[in-house]
Amino acid sequence: MTSLILRTATRLLLAVLLLFSVFLLLRGHDLPGGGFIGGLVAASALALYALAFGSSAAAALLPVGPRPLMGVGLSAAALAGLLAALAGRPFLTGLWFVQDFGGYTLKLSTPLLFDVGVYLVVVGVVLTMVFGLEDD
């Protein structure tokens, strides 16, 4: 699994795939995509990298380990629900913050935060498994 072609291609693909995964995540509310899909794309990209360069090298690319990532993701999703509760609405009710910047619309919302949580959980889960198996 350490062929030169794989290593070279992976290095190029990694950045593209990670960027694409974020793109899928963000557009998910309106077009096919979302946290599950984005997370799977990102995780696949990093898994590919781990196959090519070893899991420790792949782990080094991440600011935190895959298991903390799961925790962060789950907390983000829960926080998205709690924000609604703090605002006096039922748990997990969607809250929206929409601002127009001369033609550009900024849409922030708790469903987006929730989807980011899903994304992080999926990345963390898949990488925990792949790194674990790929190790030793």
């Binding site: 309106d30 898949v126 498994m129 674990g132 198996l133």
Partner: protein
């Protein structure tokens, strides 16, 4: 077209059931994968099949056009796919550990090996490591 897909689902599901009933745990996991795929598609079929009209709201409109695909089963299946992945991954790792510990993947041999484990050398198991170091 529902009928044709339903028959396909039946074949895939039956193959999965057959594999799950084998004494080889590896084949058991293959069966698990086939069964979860078949179940996902069967949910999909039960929500009816629609060609080429995904459940999206077009730009400018506020509701999807008439005749788009059923969104509800899709949402159910999406999480089911990912959960199925988690299950299969867990089963795979369990299988790996079982083999490393007991040296077999046959269901009928597991219990007797529990009393008399035969760890596979070179798998980093503590017993194996120790015997390696000694030799």
């Amino acid at each position: 077209m529902e009928t044709a897909v339903a028959i396909t689902v039946g074949i895939v599901f039956g193959s999965g059931v057959y594999l799950v009933l084998q004494r080889n745990l590896m084949r058991f996991i293959f069966g698990l994968i086939l069964m979860s795929g078949a179940v996902n598609v069967s949910l999909f079929v039960a929500g009816r099949l629609t060609r080429g009209a995904p459940p999206l709201v077009p730009g400018g409109a506020s509701v999807p056009p008439e005749g788009v695909a059923n969104a509800l089963p899709q949402a159910l299946i999406l999480t089911a796919i990912v959960i199925g992945f988690g299950l299969v991954a867990f089963a795979l790792v369990l299988l790996l550990r079982t083999y490393e510990r007991l040296g077999t993947v046959m269901t009928d041999e597991l219990t007797e090996r529990l009393d008399d484990p035969k760890p596979v050398p070179g798998f980093g198991d503590d017993d194996a490591l120790r015997s390696d170091g000694a030799s």
